[in-house]
Symmetry: C2
Subunit: 216 residues, 2 copies
Amino acid sequence: MSRSRPDDDLSRDQRKQRTREALMDAALTLMSRGISFTGLGLREVTREAGVVPTAFYRHFQDMDELGLALVEEGGVTLRRLLREARRGGVPLKDVIRNSVKIYTGFVRAHPQEFLFVAGERSGGSPAIRAAVRREMSHFASEMAQDLRTLNILPHLSTATLQIVCGLVVNTMISAAGDILDLPPKQPRAEQEMIDAFVKQLRVIFLGAAAWKESST
Amino acid sequence: MSRSRPDDDLSRDQRKQRTREALMDAALTLMSRGISFTGLGLREVTREAGVVPTAFYRHFQDMDELGLALVEEGGVTLRRLLREARRGGVPLKDVIRNSVKIYTGFVRAHPQEFLFVAGERSGGSPAIRAAVRREMSHFASEMAQDLRTLNILPHLSTATLQIVCGLVVNTMISAAGDILDLPPKQPRAEQEMIDAFVKQLRVIFLGAAAWKESST
DNA sequence: CGTTTCAGTGAACAAATGTTCACACAAAGG
DNA sequence: CCTTTGTGTGAACATTTGTTCACTGAAACG
């Protein structure tokens, strides 16, 4: 047996990407301990990742670049969310409640990424803020297109639909931040927040359905 | 003439409160330079305030306490906003557009406080986050009560009205953050954002008007 | 096999951070 | 008027930070 530890025979690039992920995960882990990304230090992250500080520079020029990578990761998570929702098909009954169920499931499955996105949307460095906003806008666009092909709210102009989806996405992200901030194991309060969240989405879609494009 | 500099004959308490305000203003000023509150250092703040670092402890135990004071200040500003809106009376025509005009005026007049609230809502330390949420919730409650006395959306239960106002407030704060993040002197993009903001509020109120309490 | 490439190491640095302490000195209060 | 009170000072501290540099050793490659 030449190679004893089976998880150790990896190509160089694989190894590199591995510690890169370790760094990103370390940042997310530290954030889930309460500190916001902006308050994180380079050394802190490498320490948590189990790497020497200098190794950081092999992957990112500075913390901002790490942040941007995390934004991108968050973006693909959001895309997977949409795909998953599509795959489930339209329930035709209780669409909103079901979509919210999928969503909250996703938030619970990837708490750190949602915490990051919600927190840095208006908090972090200018570059990161901008990236988060861009990602949220992309997400809203995809959602708008989905609604189009599902023939939901067909009477709305594309511009209006886009704005409505922006409102929905904004509400979604805020709700995620609120839910994840609850002291853990508090199912009563959590259910209340989710119910309020559903109600807000209902109001939005009700308003969008009642919208007349003529109104200035 | 015993007292030469007229701005210098102040009681001890007045002086103390003065440098306290200087510290708070310094933090806000630094934030408007791009850094988020969480990323601010104690020494950085005292330097900007023109005081020696140790003087900080005469007013706050740590940065978190400073942050909480700023949250409270932000809350006061929001209350003044509501009072101002009330004072203007109900325009009866174009209510939303007019309210938004008042609001954006306020945001432009107190950019730093809105930047702080928007940024630390989900970003900062747990204590500060909680305080911001509490203040936003208070604000939503007051708004709900105002709508009640103005006989707007009278068919909604108090609980529903509260939830709708929560949605409105959330949208307001996000919009403030977005608008203040624009590169300055970009009236085209700013007007676009404000128009979208107005449209979102219209959708919300339209939906609230169409709401039937019976729906599960 | 021999050479090159390069992810990760470890020591070292200047700079900045939060916190401490004894002190100054003007207002407050008897 | 003399004493007390307390805001702001200035020097000092132990830590922590971001960044540099020369290095090691194994994978990649010819």
